[in-house]
Amino acid sequence: MTVATIFIDNAPREVNPKQNLLHVCLSLGYDLPYFCWHPALGSVGACRQCAVKQFRNEQDATGKIVMACMTPAAEGTRISIADPEVVAFRAGVIQGLMQNHPHDCPVCDEGGECHLQDMTVMTGHRQRVYSFGKRTFRNQYLGPLVNHEMNRCIQCQRCVRFYREYAGGHDLNAFHLRDSIFYGRHEDGVLESEFSGNLVEICPTGVFTDATLKHHYSRKWDLQMAPSICVHCGLGCNITAGERYGTLRRVVNRYNHEVNGYFLCDRGRFGYEFVESSLRIRHPLVDGKPATRSEALERFGAVLRKGAVIGVGSPRASLESNFALRALAGPDHFFAGVPDEESRLISAMVRILRDGPARSPSLDEVEHSDAVFVLGEDLTNVAPIMALRLRQSVRQAPMRLAAGLHIPEWLDHAVRETVQDAKGPLFIASPYATKLDDIATATYHASPDDLARLGFAIAHAIDATAPEVIALSPELETMAAKIAAALRGAQHPLVVAGASCRNRGVIEAAGQIAWALCKVGSPASLSFTMPECNSFGLALMEAPPLSEALRTVRSEPVSTLIVLENDLFRRAPANEVTSLLRGVQHLIVLDHLGNPTTDAAELVLPAGTFAESDGTLVNNEGRAQRFFQVLNPSTDVQESWRWLHEVSVAAGSKSMERWEDLDDLTATIAKEIAAFGALPKVAPPRSAVGKIAREPSRYSGRTAMLANISVHEPRPPQDPDSSLAFSMESGPGPVPSSLIPFFWAPGWNSVQAVNKFQSEIGGALRGGDPGVRLIEPSRESVWQYFSAIPPAFKSRSGEWLLIPVFHIFGSEELSRHAQGISQLLPRPYLALNPAEASLVGAKAGGRIKILIEDSQFELEIMLRADLPRGVAGLPAGLPPFDGIQLPLFCKLASVGTEFSARGVL
């Protein structure tokens, strides 16, 4: 990076000349107030809050007031932040905003973490002189997730810029003018964007606040907080979770430059409510009845002593818990709790990333790709933040236009004016239309096999030594050539795929394209989405899939099956699960929420969710990230790994005695499984760091909150697993980035306090972003092109290929039970192409009978013209068919007809 020297109040400072003055001043640690600028959105100069005085040269004593966010930090620039005139100017801007701003901080949800409060204090404005009426508005109902309170608006425009320009939403805008400018929808209604929750953080005031928090409100300063990881998809966005009085209150973004940056999706932000769901298991159950901890342990021990144990792990449980079960059951008797096909697909993805030359990019690298091909994925619903990152990637190529005109990247409106509607290459080939299609250069909707064929054809078009696809239609040939050319012409091409189509060809084709690009000398990256938060980590354990568990039960005497944080009825058809459960004498389940598997168990142990445990998850990049306990449950809830450790020690097993706490455990895992060698480095061990307070220094009620139980203030609970303390007191010394419990700095109470933790604004956290990559491409070229190209899909008469259709709300198991999100779930439906619907007499909104394997369902019909012929869609992961392993062929009939043996047509 080149460096420029500028003078701030006569002091020479070295800065990044590619940035604006506001950016560099904040990076240097100056407190310069601002509203409309945001590091992810750039500058528009709308609020006039960031004024500084600029001087022509050393002799210039007059200077002129300029907006820091709109002025480049060019070599030799001389500015003053402290000049009395500019100080008065900034206070004046706040005074102007305050004319209309209500006097309602005490009842405002934003209070205590409000950027407007912080900036008001920072400018020194403290007295209102305006005594007339204030402008008022009618608020809108925006759905169960985001609350609207328009009187607090300061017209900074950030909400609309984020929602529309950054996140591609359509249903939020600015209306009216002058002092009646209104930000909202054109009528009341649920916000349609999957990223609407970010308004809560992007709005510097209390206009948009977290509507779920409202049900159990607490001030930020009263929350006990800890660094955590989102468990609702495979991307592993970093979150900060907050607790008070023993309940989880909310989740906010935890900045990680490489992963989620400044944003979360609504599933990740509002899914946390499942922790307090009425299905929550908080005490052990023995034979379906509540039991004490010691009764449960006794029963567990008795069962264990009989031996012959098998364990089924889970892609939504931590590495530590999976490993503990593996240690208890023995590596030969530990099975990944995922269906065979999914297990094979994930292993294939991991192998492709390890063997081939194409590297898995971080999400930040995804955003900076300048040509992208998405194969078979509905990213907005499967890996939402990746979709948001890709929305920015299409700006990369056109941005060069602006660069050519010497318009800096941060000068947002000028860049958008230059670029207009130009978008960089993004091609999407998916089984049905996705929300990203609106920014795609071209799209192709086809059955999974046909998608794979297009992929292989692109690889062949890039490198002729890659196998050719036989009998490809001329249109696809052209499309493949076009996509190949776009990828080859890019500086940072990216291929995205995943397991959503449940099709091996799709995954291999994606690998093939990336490899072909690497072979012809392009630095291609390859990103696979993962179905769940620890799918990648579980795959690295290389445990056999679920069917092997069934085989074992059939072939050897098995006394006990232990299921870890997994509802088997979602993993396999009910009859298979039932025969597995019948094959054992004892079923022990550790989980958070009641489900059909816990219903069938002899012993259920209350397993800690991410909020009550410590552990490590591996995201789709292969990045291991640690989450930390937020609250100390007063019930029997604890980490699954701790339950398993306790019981095995109690039962006299020697294998687990060696570890007592998290650091012992991660060290053991690192020693035993080579892939996890770096696990202890994911966060510093407890011994290496002093105490870090989970509670802010203004935390209230510490001495009084338990007074109804005892007037003596109890000793705070101890945390044996990390340096984080259930206390307000921190030791001296800096906090490592992986252990930052919340972002706060003196004078910076809002989330924007993150400014004070970054090496450069918008860049890495000081000391490096949290997380350790566990895999890198092999250095030897061990890879070979795949040659198994599937034949073209042929629709079968009277049968439809049933594929999963993903929903951000509904397809994921846990967030479905969050109170707010549960109001937004789709109703079960069957999606059909209208051209084919008439064949079975189906009409939109009508009902249809569907025969899947041996089960019949009756479902509402949804017509989707984007579905390929011969293909029908079923919402993924939604009961009652969450156990059916798609894709498979089904038969359809109008309600009232019977299925004949050969179908109905």
């Binding site: 359509h170 249903d171 805008n173 600015a174 209306f175 003018l177 054109h186 509607d421």
Partner: protein, 169 residues
């Protein structure tokens, strides 16, 4: 040309719209003139107008309303047959614009943005209409009246009421 079926506009206006959308690199640039012409023909920008213009320009209704609500000369409720717009901006104010406005209010018996019971007149207080040299001024539909005095206003309004006023649209 446009695949939208014309539901509410005259054939002439529909043809004009079809042409308008071809004049700009992006269709949405035609939004403001379309809103104005539609208002002139329909009398105001009704929900049906918003809907059809959105379709013609491939916009969301929300985007149309976003622009519509910004411009004070676009209205979403019917005006009178003669929309009387009295300027009270600086030049007119100095030369008696407020008296003219008050006079209109008294004479028509209506306030700002209101319509007379017979729907003949509506009244609006507006910002500078570019007739400062002849302040105080007012505009009735698209017709200008300058150097106003209360007596002159009486005459003008009587002429319109009697159907003698110019009716420039």
């Amino acid at each position: 040309m446009s695949a939208v079926t014309n539901t509410i506009f005259s054939p002439e206006l529909a043809a004009r719209f079809d042409k308008l959308v071809t004049l700009y690199p992006v269709k949405r640039s035609a939004l403001i003139p379309m809103l104005l012409y539609a208002q002139d023909e329909v009398g105001y920008v009704s929900d049906a107008v918003v809907h059809e213009i959105a379709q013609r320009l491939d916009l969301f209704e929300l985007d149309v309303r976003n622009v519509l609500s910004y411009y004070s000369m676009l209205r979403t409720k019917p005006a009178g047959k003669y929309n009387v717009q009295v300027c009270t901006n600086i030049s007119c104010m100095l030369r008696g614009g407020y008296e003219i406005l008050d006079h209109c209010k008294a004479k028509l018996g209506i306030g700002h943005k209101e319509v007379t019971a017979d729907k003949l007149f509506s009244l609006e207080e507006v910002e500078c209409i570019g007739a400062c040299c002849w302040a105080p001024a007012m505009q009735v539909n698209y017709d200008f009246h300058e150097d106003l005095t209360p007596a002159k206003v009486d005459q003008i309004l009587d002429d319109y009421a009697a159907g003698r006023g110019k009716d420039v649209k």
